[in-house]
Symmetry: D2
Subunit: 374 residues, 4 copies
């Protein structure tokens, strides 16, 4: 693991997710640039001190030198955005599989480069788009693909957060600091951090690609250089239209990601804060509350295998994350899943979305096309 | 009453709303162009046949000729949009007060004309923007004005309906027919019909004016000439930004009007399908569920006097509508309310919103200003 | 109308309910024992002063002396409980139909007497068991009768209120005063007032009769002579078992009536504070949210004709009450409804329930049978 | 670990819970009576085959013979009920700490014996009363103790499940089989299995003890010897009264555990299927939605340290279970927690509850005291 030292948020999540199913063991890492802190973190995790490395290059080199049975199987990247590309590129080049936190890279150019490296090396690359690990998100994708909604007409996705409602980055909040800084976050703040989650949810569930965007962003926090709020109108390649709002300055909001998809026959609604439920409403018939659970025979295979417990025993964010780890581990073992794990292709699309949103925001034209549609 | 014959929807609502509090008595009307049907409707309503008139001109003339104690006090207009202006203009000119269904007129030009007539005649003109009659919408307005949210930053309003999900207008549905026809609906379908509700809710609760819009509309139903779906990004004069989606082709949706307002200190959320609740979420404190009820001492005066029952005894759409009638009747009697009823000023703003949305939709520029800000 | 003077609660509800559909006109009444206040109430209601009477006997006598076209068609009784019987008995004996607030009488003996009078006079007697007027309660009854749940196994009904959480009766609250006084309320406080609502809901939806009860009641408010809180285990004649709690001292609760019915194939859940929804959950399939609305073709006839608006336009407590008035008026006109209005039979059963609950509460035996099962 | 072989439910939950925080490592076990299956399970868990034992006696003996650094620190018991006592007794006697699934034992006599053994050996004994591991349950306990509700008046707890809605035990369902069999489940089925959860929640949150019960149970499933459904009235030592229903034959229900506690000033409501929310409703003020999250500074210490993520990132059943494991591990290390883990005292009370419920059910007297209050 690269990143995830003391004070980090997502590193702990990755570790819990990796542990949950007992299939993955963390063997070493670089838990930050400060070697002392990194070693302290390693000790807290009961790791062999010999496998706490000063930097990612030495980690890759040392691990590569180990015997196949000792050597790590893959590397998890849980750093701020600017390190995603160099670490992933180096690891793939050394023959290691990579599971990276999102967004894939700092910018679109890096993402395209990384895609080339993935293709060239043939390595396995996974992207932890957390929300795609939820069973009911997988069920939603299945139902759209299955035609249960008919042709999709409108998609509404909102992602309000409130934690950056004031300039916490000025008072020592590390999470706030790197996310509001261009060098570590890239050309976008909020849209890079959580807009990409909303975008990936739209493309994943609809099974369609976003064709073009019309964006209006804001930097509300005093002195912020990057967006911390905004909304986007979008058009899908398949003809549906939608709106997407994402914000980190909505005081009072926790992590209220919500998506609604309306088709010609029915609609779907999913709220991340109540993740075990998927609302399916056919025109002219009662709304149906589809719920997650190993005992729910009506779920599709991808949803059902993403549950660990019978319905009514809530599973949440860590379990969704663990599904991504479990699927990645299965792919690494060579298993063929009902759908391949999210990878570099989705990573590139996410960065293209961010690039187009920022470009459109700065332009006076109404629409900007998202290039790189397959 | 003008309009509201057999098969109409809103006429019945107006009549129930007018009756509820026992302060208003319907005395006559023109219930459609077909005199036979109009008379049948009058008979069903137990009205004096002498006061069922062949057209609105004869109604106005005959009623004006009655003695002050017999004469009607005001006229309700519940026709399709194209008749709102001529009837209102004629009634005001004859010295009658007018309570009109929304939108105020067929287009912005008529609305401006009507405003001049209202000002010139000094007559009382009310607009039944239904949702502004709900107690908790009034409470929301109060809380924003009171500074409970701090400066407003983002507004999200969605108004999904599904009933026009297919071309019902081709199979004899009268409601569908006039709402999808330019001659009776104006330059817009969905945005004239329900977009104006969403717009009025934004301006009413925020106490601010919408400054400019960026719109993407659709005509999904086969052969439709007017929009039946769309979304808008908007900027408020006070600096907040937002998104508004309105659709009548979202299969599965009933009447899901929802608004969320995020400020620098707290947020508000209101869902029309659960109208007695207003969710108030201060940053860093538990969400609060404010509920309607005569026994809720924490409500503002405008909200509390808009309730008829203690909390836990749900009041709904008809009661909200009845609040508008009751306030209008009170104004007619000369009472001074905590806030004046919605009138022609709001009617003009609604039509300006529609005009700007349609203009922007047809343009390639990103933003179109809504003229006529006070 | 007898009762419903200034400061009363349910009198206003009856009047709004009667007005809503424009089929019923209030023509006179006795609005309390103080003739001055009664006359003031009559004036506020724009009634003919000649039809404001000093007491119910003079009202009945005078109205009976009017010509059939002038004479009132029926009488509404909205007094405290102790007057329900004498007024109803007198009115029926004079040939007037009666629509009475619940409970039917002060005690079981009176209820049996009243049943005899109803049968002897052949008069129409209706009981305003409010919650049975809700469309989705009628739908629930239909679904149970239709076998959608299979055999009913367990029924859970809770009715928490908080308004009597302290001794308001000592500080001038009229509602609290008569409801906590044996002379005006009878042998029970809470179970007479709202326990009877819960009981009627159980019998109405299940289509079954409560066979026996096991009760534990409390008088929490200082100095109260009657129960203000309690819970009951019960057995239905058809074999289902259940629990029923009712309380008026549950601080924080508004009017949280909720019922859940579990069968061998599916369950139903209905919450009065969200009355337009009925949750139907088949074993092994997604939960279904059935909603009220004139446009919901899947509803049964009784539910659908109890709606005035399309789904998504909330109707509430007053509309439910108005359904009872409308059905009663239809019966008075001789219409045959899909199910007869709630009447004296249900009134007797309600009083038998109260009598059995109080008897069991005072006994040490576990079960007390509710006599008078058909 | 003893128990938790292929096809078991709770064994997997224990293992995931133990793994989640990286503090506990499973080192060996007896995964069922069939040694082949047990060994297969051990292999799947990547355990050292030398530490897969044929039975619990040999496990205890062999582990005790290991050096202190190699030896297991504690034993998890996840078998059917009848083995809880013998395994726990043997392990404690050998000096091992015990973490046992609930209920503590097969019957009250065993529970008392076990309490004596715990006291005599001074060993650490923990009971996985899952629902007490949820952050918001801990918060609820704190708020009651803190006086936020005033004196508690009424407690309503419902626990509907539907999975035993028919006789699955006859068609090879192992979970159904042992839970409906007296030899493995004890004198009660449903009340032993989930009634004890409801009971523990009542006593834990209220901080009070259940004094007496009045019970009506059923065996709905064809041929069942033990209760699979029932309801109980209860009185708390502190004077509050309540009702508790628990059922496993409520078709349509998943795992709908819900508790509501009403005091003289406010009420609390918690629904296990939405575990991150605790509803707090003060009389006369808006309801408050308290939510779980590391960032919620308003939570008490016990609740806050039971969260792993900021609010809006749902944690669920496994996380609650993991809290019990984490607290147990902390106690084992000698940490002093804000409250001691649930142990044998609560185990005895649970068995006394079951014994009293069954005794009362079979009696004609209304109330049966729960002996062994503190």
């Amino acid at each position: 693991m690269i990143g995830g030292g003391p004070g980090a948020f997502i590193g702990d999540v990755h570790r819990m997710a990796a542990r949950l199913d007992g299939e993955i063991t963390l063997v070493g890492g670089v838990f930050g640039r400060d070697e002392g802190k990194s070693r302290a973190q390693g000790a807290e995790l009961h790791l062999d001190p010999a496998r706490i490395y000063p930097d990612y290059n030495s980690l890759l080199k040392s691990e590569a030198a180990l015997s196949p049975t000792e050597r790590m199987d893959f590397i998890s990247i849980v750093t701020p955005n600017h390190l995603h590309f160099p670490v992933a590129a180096a690891a793939l080049s050394k023959g290691f599989a990579v599971l990276s936190d999102k967004p894939a890279t700092l910018d679109l150019e890096e993402a395209i480069l990384l895609q080339e490296i993935v293709e060239k090396t043939g390595g396995l690359y996974g992207l932890t788009q957390t929300y795609l690990g939820y069973p009911m998100v997988r069920q939603a994708r299945y139902m759209v693909a299955n035609g249960d909604l008919g042709k999709v007409r409108r998609i509404t996705v909102d992602y309000p957060q409130g934690w950056l409602y004031r300039d916490l980055e000025k008072s020592g909040n590390r999470q706030a600091a790197w996310r509001t800084t261009p060098e570590t976050s890239g050309i976008s703040g909020c849209f890079s951090d959580i807009g990409t989650h909303a975008h990936s949810l739209v493309e994943y569930i609809s099974g369609d690609q976003m064709h073009s965007v019309c964006a209006a962003l804001n930097s509300v926090g005093a002195g912020r250089l990057l967006d911390d709020d905004g909304a986007v109108l979008f058009r899908m390649a398949g003809g549906a239209e939608g709106s997407l709002s994402a914000s980190q300055i909505c005081a009072g909001a926790d992590n209220g990601l919500m998506i609604r998809i309306y088709g010609e026959k029915a609609s779907l609604s999913w709220l991340q804060q109540r993740p075990d439920q998927l609302l399916f409403t056919p025109q002219g018939a009662p709304q149906q509350v589809w719920v997650a659970g190993t005992d729910k025979g009506y779920l599709c295979a991808a949803a059902r295998r993403s549950c660990r417990l019978p319905a009514g025993h809530p599973e949440g964010y860590i379990e969704a994350f663990a599904n991504i780890y479990r699927d990645f581990a299965a792919s690494l073992r060579g298993d063929v899943l009902d759908e391949p794990p999210v990878g570099i292709k989705e990573g590139v699309r996410g960065m293209a979305f961010v690039a187009s949103v920022i470009a459109n925001h700065q332009a006076s034209e109404k629409w900007t096309e998202i290039k790189l549609c397959r």
